[in-house]
């Protein structure tokens, strides 16, 4: 069923009896051409693009719980392509372009809202680094602008510059960046994939991989064995668990990242803004809640919850930027499991096992990557060659030394 303003009107007048399920709940078939493990944003997007771009229909997405229940349903919804390194920027810019047409493509309003992101800068050295990054973005065909303090204040008049501990010299703006309604992204991809024949199977946990002489045959699940020509793991957060079924050890640690939302408030923040003298990012949702986050807690964890010190740290930076927020209230916090890779960049690659593919290591940048990750993973699964924008995301880059280290903090996941 196609969604439209007219349809909404019609249903409104007829008691909404016409709306059907957004996606089916099919029983798993005995085998598929492609089995995607993980019904999160990336997995659902992968299935959608496999069906839409690569005309594959025998595709299943297996989800342990309910779709969109992982990090796509627990993040700060920021979408941007303001990266420095050649290995990253083309991919994220490709992703941003997909975001820009997402609603029309999916016929689902994911509320992609390009209200811009500003990275504040607080020192000469930081300005130099941002200029280098802004130039990289432009060289890669993305947009970037350098703002001085005055220009930043025009957009964010409540920013503390009078008695700031770390002076605000200006910021790097990407105007095309913004936010999207995170749940809707998962639901939109699910609906789109479902309409193209993809089986989305919830409450189906993968418990093992059936591999014989170097080739994958299918997956063992809580709902029985499911055969597959190709299996793609797409379970960022739990990547190590799933790939262990294939005896693989990954350059990844699982860490907890907390995110926060305030009570609903009348608009005060037009777009996304980040603190440069620490690690803090914030935007305001269409419902009025301030959505923000900062550093990961810093220790390996699968607990999906964090601790107090990071909460304090994050909010200290919020108040440092906007002293006015002292009287806003924190409504809710939550914790997600991050696939923290050894250089802070993701992996989309084949494995040494025939027919087994891996997508993970998104650290806490996975949401913005959802469309391109799905697209590039679908491309790899369908063609066995990496997508042109994702050629650097290789598993063996730590062996070869071709790391993609945006932050320059080396092989220590909790520093990225």
């Amino acid at each position: 069923m196609r969604y439209s303003g007219f349809r909404v009107l019609k249903e409104a007048l007829t008691g909404h009896r016409g709306w059907g399920p957004a996606w089916r709940d099919p029983e798993p078939q005995s085998d598929y051409d492609y089995v995607i493990i993980g019904g999160g944003g990336h997995g659902l997007a992968t299935a959608y693009y496999l069906a839409k771009e690569y005309k594959q229909s025998r595709v299943a997405v297996l989800e342990k719980g309910w779709i969109g229940g992982g990090n796509v349903g627990r993040n700060t919804t920021i979408v941007r392509s303001n990266y420095l390194l050649d290995g990253n920027e083309p991919f994220y810019e490709f992703s941003l372009k997909l975001w820009e047409g997402l609603e029309q493509d999916l016929n689902y309003n994911a509320m992609m809202s390009q209200r811009g992101i500003i990275n504040l800068m607080h020192s000469d050295a930081q300005r130099d680094a941002y200029i280098r990054r802004g130039n990289s973005m432009i060289l890669h065909g993305a947009d970037a602008e350098l703002l001085n303090q005055k220009q930043v204040l025009e957009k964010y008049p409540f920013l503390n510059v009078k008695n700031a501990r770390f002076p605000v010299m200006g910021g790097l703006l990407q105007a095309r960046a913004g936010t999207a309604r995170h749940d809707a992204v998962a639901w939109g991809y699910a609906r789109g994939a479902d309409q193209r024949g993809v089986d989305i199977i919830q409450n189906c946990e993968v418990t093992g991989l059936r591999i014989e002489n170097g080739k994958v045959l299918g997956v063992e699940t809580s709902r029985g064995y499911i055969g597959a020509k190709k299996v793609g793991s797409c379970v960022a957060g739990s990547s190590s668990k799933v790939m262990a079924y294939a005896g693989m050890r990954l350059p990844i640690e699982s860490h907890v990242l907390q995110a926060f939302v305030s009570e609903g408030l009348k608009p005060v923040l037009p777009g996304v803004i980040t603190f440069g003298a620490g690690h803090f990012y914030c935007s305001q949702s269409d419902k009025g809640g301030l959505v923000f986050g900062g550093n990961i807690d810093g220790y390996n964890s699968y607990a999906q919850r964090g601790n107090l010190p990071v909460v304090e740290d994050v909010i200290e930076e919020a108040i440092a930027m906007f002293p006015m927020l002292g009287r806003a209230r924190l409504l809710r916090s939550w914790g997600g499991i991050m696939d923290m890779s050894m250089d802070g960049s993701p992996i989309i690659d084949k494995t040494h096992i025939d027919g087994l593919y891996f997508n993970g290591g998104w650290c806490y940048g996975g949401f913005k990557a959802t469309p391109a990750s799905g697209f590039c993973y679908a491309h790899l699964l369908a063609t066995d060659t990496p997508h042109e924008t994702a050629t650097a995301f290789r598993l063996d880059r730590f062996r070869t030394g071709n790391v993609i280290d945006e932050k320059g903090s080396g092989a220590q996941p909790n520093l990225h």
Binding site: G5, R7, N163, G264, A303, P323, M324, V403
Partner: protein
């Protein structure tokens, strides 16, 4: 009309009358009132508007679970949006305003949404607003954003202070109702260190809301007496106005004490609130229970409340929301409200009990087996319509309706470590279950024990158990007699209706929305929540989640536990963000570190800049200098011409001693350190284990077994940590001792042709500073100014004949003053970071800009320093092919072809004439400056195969800043490449 609905009795202090204002109207209330109770006393039921449909709303509860009565409290910079009128303590002169309405609360133009509600069904926005694409940001979203949001912030800085504190105890008791008080009494008398927190300003929980006796006196009196007793115990800390917001790992609880929220403004020096981090060995949750609604058509009108809330207002605050009150209940507890109201002289027009076997009373009319299927009254309840058990309807006039759907234990904190509550059929409620936070037990109503007698006992017993875990013995306190009424409830969740019946009142989620979510396959609890926004409002679904689940279960034909439950996450109640920051805001966000010469530099009018936490002099303007470049150029020229002094104390210094000190440093640095002669300094390059450069610095050997190594300012802490890692984890058997001495020594660079002459006037006679005796890279412990111990290093960052001299920090101020007076004859200048930077760029010395964490020794042109003949951190992985490619980036100098051009840092480098695209990107500029010695701009940068491209003219672009011109690749050593100056 003044306090028309005020009754007799209550726990308010009538001797204190407060005047306050809500919107434009002034009212009177008493000490002990909340804003809500005072407004109700004054006949005000309408206190807010709902989020989506802007429906008129009044208070539904008497506590922190309130969804409707939320207001903007206070004015000006202290305005607090979304404040619950039901918990806001009244004070004299209080000001509050309704929010999210225009132009007024009684007439809100946005109420139009209510008429259009059919179009605004759950999730409608996902299905439209998509055409044309550009309209989302331009048209639809701005309208939505303007409409959305609840209260508004002040747009001024929060003027109040907040504190953070730390408490430790054996036993934390969360909640001061009957269970909590009994637990505190038991533990207190046993001598354990106890902390009792209660979010209310009057401790006692439901004891203050009820009328029955506790040990022959009123529950409130017993609570007051018990609190007084606890307060006399030195081992017990009683904390009212303190909400425990989260249960974190290993017995750590976050608690927020509202120190000053009941005052017009905080007292001088005192915080508004304190965030306590409580470390407790055991904790008992005594958070009580929350009464839940029954869902029926138009159940959201002002005046329709929890039955228990009406009872609380009547008994504690001596207030009734109206003179005629009806009750709608599915359990016996609803009747308690009726009888309490009757005894307070309030007319109970009817008790509608969904049960055929309802209690019968002589005090009020009971309709057994009836339900309410409609209500009237736009701005406040006027009339209800009852569907009679034997068919037919009866309309009853009333101004308030108390609804009792049963009680939900407040299990929230038991879920903070992902424990899942379990369904109790008998209570038809979720009770604590699954994995509770280790060390936490639950007592009283929070554990499903609802009678006062039961709560008192379970509190005492649970405390005894916790204490015996702690190896403490305790005798049960003599507990008072109290009512022990059993729970009698027949689950009844909602009255079916074709129209709208509210489940989540703040977010306007109706039973129909839940049905629609099911119809569209948003059936898992989380999908339901996210699709309909059920439970996502500021009340966090405290009153709506379970009802929502029940309705979903009904639609899905499942049992409630099959549908599942939702997670509760911190904070327990919305918490002012300021309290998490504490004193850390403005200039106090982080500590400030000052150099030993700071005071003197201030006297010179120096301009300072942050370098990490340090404040360092950037330049020293002289009279008449209007631009920093003038000062910087002068400092550079004068230093190179004669002599300059710079405070370099902020560089990290680590004292390395022990028989194996040299061997140790040989492992830590990639170049050879073992064979440094005593009295000599060596430049050292430090790699991370992944082979990239971590830091650089110098190592000075003061004795066979004693080195002092320096780090960059930025990496001082990290390098020390890393060296301790190597010492303890990689070579635990070496004889090496480390300690930081960064702070102990004030260190100054003395640079320039006259530096030796100047130092001769400072260093005590007998120290031979001649080039032969004290050559480049020499170091020694000396005395100066007549016997002060000092360290002298002949090292040079500027490229000049230069020294660094260190004295105990307290003498740093005196030393720089002495250097200045002694240097007058040489026109000595102090120089700041800018001049230091210019001189190091002129010399091609690298710093943080080049050591950016992605560069290798090879990139820096120091590839040969990585010794192949020894083990050192990072040497093996620095060999990886990807880090040693043919066209690897190399450090080069850059000089504009047109000398009037600058060479900005951050610009990218392309081959001459190449198109400006990423594929043509050849490198970037790391550091740039104007060289007063060369008379033009210069820069350092990384360029592919740069070392073999000296003399090549390339294209420099910075599209971001509009720069595009040609530069020549030159050696990074712009000045004195042979190093004659520094060896002079």
């Amino acid at each position: 009309m003044s306090q028309v609905n005020r009754l007799d009795g209550g726990l308010i202090d009538r001797s204190e009358t407060y005047s306050f204002r809500f919107d434009s109207t002034y009212h009177k209330g008493h000490k002990g009132d909340t804003l809500a109770s005072a407004l109700l006393a004054n006949g005000v039921r309408l206190m807010g508007r709902s989020f989506k449909y802007h429906r008129p709303r009044g208070p539904m509860t008497a506590g922190s679970e309130e969804p409707n009565a939320i207001v903007e409290l206070r004015e000006g910079a202290r305005k607090e949006p979304n404040t619950r009128a039901t918990t806001a303590e009244l004070y004299d002169g209080l000001r509050a305003a309704s929010q999210n309405r225009w132009p007024s609360l009684a007439f809100d133009a946005m109420e139009i949404n209510d008429l259009l509600s059919n179009f605004f069904a759950a999730g409608f926005y996902y299905k439209t607003f998509m055409w044309p694409a550009a309209f989302w940001e331009k048209v639809y979203e701005p309208i939505i954003r303007r409409a959305a949001g609840l209260g508004s912030l002040s747009s001024q800085d929060d003027p109040d202070d907040y504190d953070k504190g730390f408490l430790h105890c054996d036993l934390l008791i969360i909640g001061g109702g009957p269970a909590g008080l009994a637990a505190a009494l038991t533990a207190g008398e046993s001598g354990a260190r106890v902390i009792l927190c209660d979010e209310d300003f009057l401790i006692g929980g439901r004891l203050n809301f009820e009328t029955y006796d506790v040990g022959g006196q009123s529950g409130a009196a017993w609570a007051a007496e018990t609190v007084a007793r606890l307060q006399t115990m030195p081992n017990v800390r009683v904390m009212p106005r303190t909400t425990v917001i989260g249960a974190f790992d290993h017995g750590i609880y976050g608690a927020v004490e509202r120190v000053s929220d009941h005052l017009p403004v905080p007292q001088e020096g005192k915080p508004r609130q304190i965030l306590w981090r409580i470390t407790s060995t055991r904790a008992i949750l005594c958070a009580g229970a929350t009464e839940r609604p029954i869902v029926f058509e138009n159940n959201d009108r002002p005046g329709i409340m929890q039955a228990s809330a009406i009872r609380a207002y009547a008994n504690r605050w001596a207030v009734t929301p109206a003179q005629q009150v009806a009750i709608f209940t599915n359990n016996d507890d609803g009747h308690r409200t009726a009888s309490d109201l009757v005894s307070k002289g309030v007319e109970v027009v009817s008790v509608i009990d969904t049960r055929q076997d309802a209690l019968i009373s002589t005090d009020y009319d009971v309709i057994a087996g009836g339900v309410i299927d409609q209500t009237w009254g736009r701005l406040g309840l006027k009339q209800i319509e009852v569907k009679m058990p034997k068919g037919g309807i009866r309309r009853i006039k009333c101004g308030a309706l108390g609804v009792s759907g049963g009680w939900n234990p407040n299990v929230h904190l038991t879920c903070h470590q992902r424990g899942r509550p379990v369904w109790d059929e008998a209570l038809s409620a979720f009770v604590p279950g699954g994995a509770l936070p280790p060390g936490m037990t639950v007592a009283g109503a929070a554990n499903g024990v609802f009678s006062t007698h039961g709560a008192l006992n379970s509190g005492a017993e649970t405390a005894k158990a916790a204490l015996s875990d702690l190896g403490m013995t305790s005798k049960a306190p003599t507990l008072p007699d109290a009512e022990d009424t059993p729970v009698r409830i027949t689950p009844f969740w909602h009255v079916k209706s074709a129209k709208r019946a509210w489940v989540d009142q703040q977010n306007d989620v109706t039973a129909k929305d839940i049905k629609l979510a099911h119809q569209e396959n948003f059936r898992s609890v989380e999908h339901l929540k996210r699709y309909t926004t059920l439970g996502m409002a500021t009340d966090q679904g405290k009153t709506s989640n379970v009802a929502g689940l029940a309705i979903m279960a009904e639609v899905a034909g499942k049992a409630i536990p099959e549908v599942g439950t939702t997670m509760f996450r911190p904070p327990y109640a919305p918490t002012a963000m300021g309290v998490f920051a504490g004193r850390a805001w403005g200039k106090d966000v982080r500590p400030t570190r000052l150099t030993p010469s700071h005071k003197w530099a201030e006297e010179q009018g120096a301009v300072f800049t942050e370098s990490g936490l340090w404040l360092r002099a950037q330049w020293y303007p002289k009279a008449g200098e209007t631009h920093w470049r003038e000062s910087c150029d002068r400092e550079v020229l004068q230093t190179r011409k004669s002599v300059g002094v710079c405070d370099v104390t902020s560089l990290g210094k680590i004292d390395v001693q022990g028989a194996d000190a040299a061997t140790f440093l040989n492992l830590v640095y990639c170049n050879g350190m073992a064979k440094i002669p005593v009295g000599k300094v060596r430049y050292g390059l430090m790699l991370r284990e992944d082979g990239f450069v971590m830091d650089d610095g110098t190592a000075a050997r003061l004795a066979e077994d004693h080195f002092v190594v320096t780090t960059t300012t930025a990496n001082a802490v990290g390098v020390y940590r890393h060296m301790e890692f190597v010492r303890q984890c990689l070579c635990p058997d070496m004889d090496v001792q480390l300690i930081s001495t960064t702070e102990a020594w004030a260190q100054f660079a003395v640079a320039g042709p006259n530096s030796r002459a100047l130092l001769r006037k400072i260093v005590d006679p007998g120290v031979d500073l001649s080039n032969d005796a004290f050559p480049f890279m020499a170091c020694a412990e000396v005395t100066i100014c007549g016997g002060l111990r000092a360290r002298l290093f002949r090292i040079s960052f500027s490229g000049e004949l230069a020294y660094e001299i260190a004295v105990p920090t307290r003498y740093g101020d005196a030393l720089i003053r002495r250097l200045m007076t002694a240097g007058e004859e040489f026109d000595v200048v102090p120089y700041g970071l800018e001049a230091l930077n210019v001189m190091r760029i002129e010399k091609g010395h690298v710093t943080a800009n080049e050591l950016n964490g992605t560069t290798t020794a090879l990139n820096l042109g120091m590839g040969r320093m990585v010794s192949k003949t020894k083990d050192s951190i990072g040497s093996v992985l620095s060999e990886r092919p990807g880090m040693n490619e043919e066209d690897a980036l190399k450090l080069v100098g850059l000089k504009p072809v047109d000398l009037s051009n600058n060479v900005p840092a951050g610009a990218h480098l392309l081959t001459k004439g190449a198109k400006v695209t990423a594929t043509n990107d050849q490198g970037y500029v790391t550091s740039a400056c104007y060289s007063p010695n060369l008379g033009h701009h210069i820069a350092l940068g990384f360029l592919k195969s740069g070392d073999s491209r000296i003399g090549e003219v390339i294209r420099l672009v910075s599209p971001l800043t509009g720069v595009d011109h040609e530069v020549e690749v030159v050696s990074a050593h712009f000045l004195d490449p042979e190093g004659e100056r520094l060896r002079a």
